[in-house]
């Protein structure tokens, strides 16, 4: 690795750390990009060589944590437990990433959810695709085992589950539910209803 690449990585780290520190200290809106640049010891313009805009600083902070959390969650998946517990295990890992910084998390989720185009969109899409690719087999296995109906394809079921997770998360981020309620009872209820609604039709039960 040449000096170029080394310097680049070092600058990115400094920017990421400066952004996180200042965001936590003063809040996202109250922190200016100039302050971050100064704290990271780079010029204003340099900051925008590393991120396209301010929201992308949030991506810089969250993306690696989320990736790591998801990898770990799937590595430690309780495969012997019922599907719903596996789902709660994975989605719960995402909740735990956001838990220590709810205000930043809200800004991040907002930015992520509505991005259109740009680097952030690509990363977001890539993450979602890879996440779905790991979720789908869980549902397929459940279908194969006859514990889940086959009226709806596994990818559809996975997307709906993610939607329910997103709604539970949003309830917390909005203050409509506290963390524990959203992460456990709300999310669990949503998924229980979904799983029950997708249960296979009983043998000998018409239609």
């Amino acid at each position: 690795m040449g000096r170029r690449e080394q310097a680049r990585q070092d600058k990115e780290r400094r920017i990421r750390e400066a952004a996180l520190t200042l965001f936590l200290e003063k809040g996202y809106e109250q922190t200016t990009t100039k302050e971050i640049a100064e704290a990271a010891d780079v010029a204003t313009g340099t900051l925008f060589l590393y991120v396209q805009d301010k929201p992308e600083l949030l991506a810089l902070i969250f993306q690696e944590r989320i990736s790591a959390a998801v990898d770990k969650a799937f590595a430690r998946l309780p495969g012997h437990r019922p599907l719903i517990d596996q789902l709660l295990h994975v989605f719960g890992a995402l909740f735990d990433v956001y838990r220590p910084m709810p205000d930043l998390a809200r800004e991040f989720v907002k930015a992520q959810f509505f991005v259109r185009g740009g680097k952030m969109f690509d990363e977001s899409t890539r993450f979602r695709d890879s996440f779905q690719a790991r979720m789908i087999p869980l549902f397929e296995a459940e279908q194969a085992a006859g514990r889940l109906g086959t009226d709806y394809p596994a990818p559809f079921v996975a997307r709906m589950a993610f939607s329910l997770y997103f709604n539970a998360l949003s309830a917390w981020l909005h203050g409509a539910a506290d963390f524990k309620t959203a992460r456990t009872s709300l999310l669990r209820s949503f998924l229980e209803i979904q799983m029950r609604g997708l249960a296979p039709v009983r043998k000998g039960n018409p239609s």
Copy 2:
């Protein structure tokens, strides 16, 4: 009504119309608040006496359409049809408000979904409360008729249904589904699964 109030209403209308025209013509981001102020024939500062910030111009545009659509939808509710058709009727009316202006709708939904405090938050909250208040009786009636289980309270069921609507709407606004697919099949599938998951436990069927 004195000259004050008359002038106020007239200015608000001019601002609303100017904002809509320009947003549709050039897009939300590409339209500056100064352009809107000029088109509405008021000073820059005046604009911000009528709205707190740029996103609130979207609220000005959508809120009355949404209110009217919801009132009409409930007035013409097909009460004799199955619950799911009633739900599709109401949520479909919301879809139809957004249909003619998907780009603006996306901006509006983004702004609404994540507001914290301010006039827009209050209006948004008030709308949601009144909307929920009209939805809840539909579910209560269904429970009373024994067609819906009582494990989960009606307000919870209503909130989950709204979440599912929101996800179907988002799928369209993101381009993950076209309008018709989102409004009919996606939304219907979501609600069907939910209703099936909430079906009452059959008599003589343990637990």
